[in-house]
Symmetry: C2
Subunit: 135 residues, 2 copies
DNA sequence: TATTGTTATACTCTATAACTATA
DNA sequence: TATAGTTATAGAGTATAACAATA
């Protein structure tokens, strides 16, 4: 066998990342899925719950208690959509954005350290290639 | 935000890989963990159950029904270790190796196709860099 | 009739502790 | 007392279906 499967290689990297992220997120009072919601809302300021669930690859029914928790902490608000009274528009609050950015700063620092085993050119190559494989 | 988190990028790639692998493995009558066991035994022909569980990142208690199923299909055998009668040595059978190689051929073909969005040089760079991030 | 959010339920996956037989 | 394998059980995570309100 000339090399390991891609699934095994990528899987091991993801496990490392998850293990390294968990305590950082926990220190900011966030789970991985909560962080994922905040991250998406920072990119896409207003989303219906359904669009949000689809975008982050989560189930719309599991999303409800997740949003309840984040709304309870004041990190996001659910506003009735005047154009479609069935839909709720989910929006990040300033507190939510601040919490996200604080958590992200820690995660980015961890990532830089993990990437530091690679040369600057290798890091550039990797970051250029990953989004193309992810789509 | 200059780029997505590494966790998000790698996570999306892994989800793609898992989604693409599942039907291939299913066609060979294997789950992902079963494939993982066979793959490890092909590299490391004889292992105790405990060492095997640790190596693939699985729980020793969950491993038992998994090995039962694979042994029932004749893909591996559990032999009492004469030196230590508590331990069982797990060993791949010729059928197990054949099943693994058939599944792996399909998976490799899928991987080549997924990687084909990259140039040959980009593929080389990626495959050189991944194992260093995985450790 | 279809869609949005919600709730309830069942199912799978995973982690923990306890048991046996050996050492 | 500790270890290898096993079993049982509880917990977390996930998927599915059904419901109310609105379109």
């Amino acid at each position: 066998m000339e090399r390991d499967d891609l699934g095994a290689l990528f899987g091991r990297v993801v496990r490392r990342l998850i293990a390294a992220e968990r305590p950082l997120l926990e220190a900011h009072g966030l789970t991985m899925w909560e962080y994922s919601v905040l991250t998406h809302l920072a990119k896409q300021p207003t989303e219906t719950q359904q669009a949000l669930a689809a975008a982050i690859g989560y189930d719309k029914s599991r999303l409800i208690p997740l949003l309840d928790g984040l709304a309870g902490q004041g990190l996001l608000v659910r506003e009735p959509d005047p154009a479609n009274r069935r839909a709720h528009a989910v929006r990040l609050t300033p507190d939510g954005l601040a919490r996200l950015e604080a958590a992200r700063a820690d995660i980015r620092a961890m990532e830089e350290e993990l990437l530091s085993v690679l040369s600057a050119a290798e890091q550039r190559h990797l970051l250029a290639v990953l989004p193309r494989l992810a789509d």
